[in-house]
Symmetry: C2
Subunit: 713 residues, 2 copies
């Protein structure tokens, strides 16, 4: 918002005064962000202090940690070059060509972009650091008690949750304090999301390459159990859980959180015509969300009789309730608009409802999983047909939920400022902020999953006993259920965020059009063939993007499978499990790493280039359609793939629990096919799509002035 | 277009005078339509005259014919009630409540609606009648010569092609002659498409129930060949080819053709402000398309050295060339707008290009099919993952093609009438007319498929020898390839048609708004949350619709599989193939019929009700978004499912041809899973979606005045 930036407004306008006390919302945000770091540090040191267990556990734990760190280092080095190239492009062209606009702003934009990607990388790095310690601690604790194991797993995950949301709030607030330029937060957000795009894709390809190959040769061909140390890919599989589910997912939600905040700030400042009550409210609510997550996280624990899924869900509900309470009090105390408070709460509640609906489709106590498991008796084809069908059905609650929250947020906030349509767009962006307010808690729940999954592997590989295996199995199953829910949540949140970003895009574009004295955009009319052209291309992008990632996994898994076969053939005694026969774990990690690095760039680049091509052909008008088509098709595919994948996973687990013939039955074989298909669906393509949606929205916003200047139509 | 209707214009305005000769375009259309009926009759009698073959062939042929007729009779009876109920609703409420609007127009609308559904049913009936004769003739001819078999199969299919397009042109022209009311052609179109929706869904469920069950028990479990007469489901499978692929597909393309014509007429009359040159052009081009198809059809034949796929494609190219030629001459002679001629030809060419692109993804000489076949060596999961990936990729050329044709048509026709945006919408609708101009030829090619597929079955069941089997195998394979192409074509044509219908919808809505003195619609702005709400719901509908149909197939196939098992267990000697052991074919047909009838209504009704719910909540504004979301998501899913399905089918055939280990290999087993998954994708859900898209567009257009009067927002 060029005109606000230039006003050089005083920091005073981000303040409220209550009972004579001055509350500066920037200061509050910084304090809460620092509080979350303190919490993270405390949790980290708590986990670190726990028993590291037997030498073998530590040995294997080190293999996983080293593998994850090597992958991360190589991935970040590659992405470093990418970030550098983009930063140079930004300096030259964005938000306006350097020879036309203000060079300082271009440089600041590049710095914000770099900061966003560095923050994202750091959050991922911290998450991996603690997750690869917490896994051994959890495995070791599981030998003694279920409660201890749960606490280790959850607190390990919570470090990630606190680090991610704290960095997001700190980064966005820092930019505002230093520059007062809301447009720069979009640059920060673009840095976060472009890193997330590749981290998600790269991690997703790595993890599924290893997982599929390990299962295919180990479980299916040789009939050796999951996590058997003879399997050369077993360490790579555990590394994959960390780089895919911890680092990748953390980057994804970091990106969504930053994007929702940025969009809200851009729109709030447009409505405030500078800084004012609406901007105050954004920072107040964001701080409240993080605070609620900190409290909720510290309260999570299980008793001897409670189940881990219940404990995770209970913490989520507590966090939600605290957020509702704090924001209501703040709204009353500081005289914020109750309308926008309503929009925020609607977003949050719809997020929770979508999570519950997702649970219906992926929970093994419900009809869909049971039906797919039972259809598997007729063969793998029926596993796929019925699973895809339920995947299709599952989009309904999420899409309707997003539609209703957008409509409701619009309705209760429309007309607050009768001179503009920004008021209602801001309402939608607050619904997104609301949905993402408890994301600290969501990430904690989500990162818990791969930690206990790893712990289960360690228990198996380090021979920690049957009881520990039973406990980690139970914790792992809870992780899977919760993961499906948080995934639905994350996708929906991205959807709502991107609508807000679409509003921010139009607002940015209009600033430029206004400055050039050109006709302003009033919206994107689907009946306008230029918009329609963009819509169609935008709709194709997520499909092509998914295809590229899945074919990448496919190619990479073929390479890895060949390597596993080679090792079993060439290393004497490996197949039989001789004590001295040690597989070459590192070689498998290396293949997964190389393959992932090779495959992660093209898909993301395609999405970014498609945005630019549409923009330079059809201008901002076509880009509006492009973003709309991209959201519709992206949400659809992401939801189908994530939910069908989660469903197949649990259908397989349901059969493995002894139902319908149990392990080794025909139904089980069919269910394994479903699970394998679901792997790249739910862990590679599906969750990468929401990052893809966010990235193209930000590319569009930042390049708006170029499209206006240089498009054909 | 209420205001034109009332003018009671003279028929003269549909005339051009050239060299003193008066050319009345209504008369021309009627004459060409009648010419197509004459051609159909001649082709029918030609096929009828051919040798019916051995007694056994005739016997089995009769079983198939009776099965198809019984299904059709029961389906049409059920749909008769549906049509009646809808007709009553139309009389009461559409286009306006009978107590507010003009009762006569409501009655006429209901009559047009009934006429549309009756014409569609008749075309299906005629198609089945000839297809179930042509199959025995083709099988018998295959004993003697390849050329004879081809001609029988093709001419059988061509009867359907001529009947469908002739009825469409006759019906639309008839309504215009009798009433001069373009709005009523939308009612006719709604009748056609609501019948098509259910015929396609019902036929699709029937055919895939039978196909999957027959394969599962026969080929997979018992290892008996395709079309083995011991298999109780084998006749049902052949009946399914007819009711699904002949009657269902005919209804589908009838519906698209009528819809594209109706939309073009509505927009032409808006542009002509009554009747005039634009309207003349629509009828001229529609007649030219049918004429070109008649000529192309009569020229299709193969020589001893040419392959059948080439022959079918050649006829298509000839038809295309003739159409381009005739319309260019007519445009010159009658002084039509060259801009709109250009838009028409762009639509046609893009249709052909999309067909070729579809061929790339489903042709077994190209990389995708080869890759999927080779991935099958690693197991069924890889068949599915790689096939889905290529399915996703395959949407790209089609969506971009549609986007470019819309944009190009818009660009070259925009500004012809500077007072309105209807000029460019009419350009898009002419692109749709162009794409559908050669549909007579397309249907002929498409209906050829199930006929030769049936013939192959008859050759096997009636023991007509190896040579005949080889010949029908070759012809069948050509049918499969061409079918994949025409499917991509049909989906894209539906896409473009629906955009035109969206224009017609807006035009209809504005007529009503104008009459009520309310603010006119200028478009559907995606940034308007009411539009966005509609978009999200619209996007969910095709996914839910597909899921309902596929779960229907799943349920029905389970029932049928149980019945086949029962027969093999209870009928002594059936498994061993004793001469006296005759399976109860009728029971299987009955199960497929009952199941299809039970499952066909809910999915279609859901789509229609969703439109009404959105309309009554968000008014015409939300419905505009609903249609847009529906097009995007519908095209995406229809293309993915059709193309992935075709690809899996051909990957299986490629392996069966002796590659990668051939029949019985592990790769083959995996490919069979892919093929089975692909069955409901490509023959039930995928092609039903384009009918679903058309139906909701027409429901929206017809109910526009109700939405305006009674919506919440």
């Amino acid at each position: 918002m060029a005109e606000y930036r230039k006003k050089g407004q005083s920091m005073l306008s981000i303040e409220n005064v209550i009972g004579g006390i001055v509350v500066n919302w920037f200061a509050v945000s910084i304090i809460v962000a620092l509080l979350s770091f303190v919490t993270a540090a405390w949790l980290y040191s708590w986990v670190k202090k726990q028993d590291s267990g037997t030498q073998k556990t530590q040995q294997i734990g080190k293999l996983i940690r080293d593998g994850a760190n090597v992958f991360l280092a190589r991935e970040y080095r590659l992405l470093g070059y990418f970030v550098l190239v983009v930063a140079i492009i930004i300096v030259l062209f964005l938000p306006q060509p350097i020879w036309q606009g203000e060079p300082t702003r271009n440089v600041l934009m590049a710095v914000a972009y770099i900061a966003g990607s560095v923050f994202s990388a750091l959050a991922g790095k911290v998450g991996i650091a603690v997750a690869t310690i917490a896994n051994t601690k959890t495995a070791t604790a599981a030998v003694k008690s279920r409660e201890g194991a749960f606490t280790n797993g959850f607190r390990g995950g919570a470090v990630m949750g606190m680090a991610v949301v704290g960095s997001s709030l700190l980064g966005v607030t820092g930019i505002m304090i230093l520059t007062g330029d809301a447009g720069l937060t979009l640059g920060f957000s673009f840095g976060a999301s472009s890193l997330a795009l590749f981290a998600k894709a790269g991690g997703g390809i790595f993890t599924k390459t290893a997982d599929i190959s390990a299962d295919l040769v180990g479980k299916v061909e040789l009939g050796i159990p999951e996590d058997d140390p003879r399997n050369p890919a077993v360490i790579a599989d555990n590394v994959g859980d960390n780089v895919g589910d911890v680092a990748g997912m953390g980057a994804d939600l970091f990106d969504s959180h930053v994007a929702s905040l940025s969009a809200a700030i851009v729109l709030a400042m447009a409505l405030d015509r500078g800084l004012g009550q609406f901007t105050n409210m954004v920072f107040c609510y964001a701080s409240a969300g993080l605070l609620a997550s900190i409290i909720g996280t510290l309260m999570a624990r299980i008793g001897p009789d409670s189940n881990p899924t219940g404990a995770l869900n209970k913490s989520t509900y507590i966090t939600t309730a605290i957020f509702v309470g704090i924001t209501a009090i703040a709204t009353y105390a500081f005289d914020f608009s109750w309308h926008y408070w309503g929009a925020t709460i609607i977003g949050l509640l719809v997020g929770v409802v979508i999570g519950v609906a997702t649970d219906y489709f992926t929970n093994d106590e419900r009809n869909p999983v049971r039906h797919v498991a039972s259809a598997s008796k007729s063969g793998a084809a029926f596993t796929i047909i019925s699973g895809m069908s339920y995947g299709f059905l599952s989009v309904f609650p999420a899409l309707i939920g997003i539609a209703i929250s957008a409509l409701a947020a619009y309705t209760i906030t429309n007309g607050i400022d009768p001179t503009t349509n920004v008021d209602a767009l801001f309402g939608i962006s607050m619904a997104a902020v609301g949905m993402l307010s408890i994301v600290g808690m969501i990430i904690s729940n989500d990162a818990y999953g791969p930690i206990v999954d790893n712990a289960r592997g360690l228990v198996e590989m380090a021979d920690l006993g049957e009881e520990a295996l039973r406990i980690t199995d139970e914790l792992d199953s809870a992780g899977n259920t919760v993961k499906a829910i948080t995934k639905g949540f994350a996708i929906s949140a991205a959807g709502l965020t991107v609508i807000a970003l679409l509003g921010a895009f139009m607002s940015e574009a209009n600033d430029i059009l206004l400055a050039k004295g050109m006709e302003l955009l009033t919206g994107f009319d689907i009946m306008n063939p230029v918009v329609f052209f963009g819509t169609m291309v935008g709709a194709a992008v997520p499909a092509v993007f998914s295809a590229m990632l899945m074919l990448g996994v496919d190619r990479n898994a073929q390479r890895m499978t060949a390597e596993i076969h080679r090792q079993f053939d060439e290393i004497p005694g490996l197949r039989e499990g001789h004590k001295d026969a040690v597989p070459d774990y590192a070689r498998c990690i290396d293949i997964a790493t190389q393959g992932a690095l090779k495959e992660l760039i093209p898909a993301g680049l395609m999405a970014i280039l498609a945005t630019l091509v549409v923009g330079f052909i059809g201008g901002v008008t076509a880009v509006g359609g492009f973003l709309a088509g991209n959201i519709v098709s992206g949400l659809l595919l992401a939801l189908v793939m994530s939910n069908a994948g989660g469903l197949w996973d649990n259908a397989k687990k349901y059969i493995e629990a002894g139902n319908l013939g149990g392990k080794g039955s025909e139904a089980h074989k069919a269910a394994v096919v479903g699970d394998t298909v679901g792997d790249p669906f739910k862990d590679t393509a599906g969750p990468s799509i929401n990052t893809q949606i966010t990235v193209v929205s930000l590319v569009a916003s930042l390049a708006a002035s170029l499209f206006i200047a240089f498009s054909i139509f």
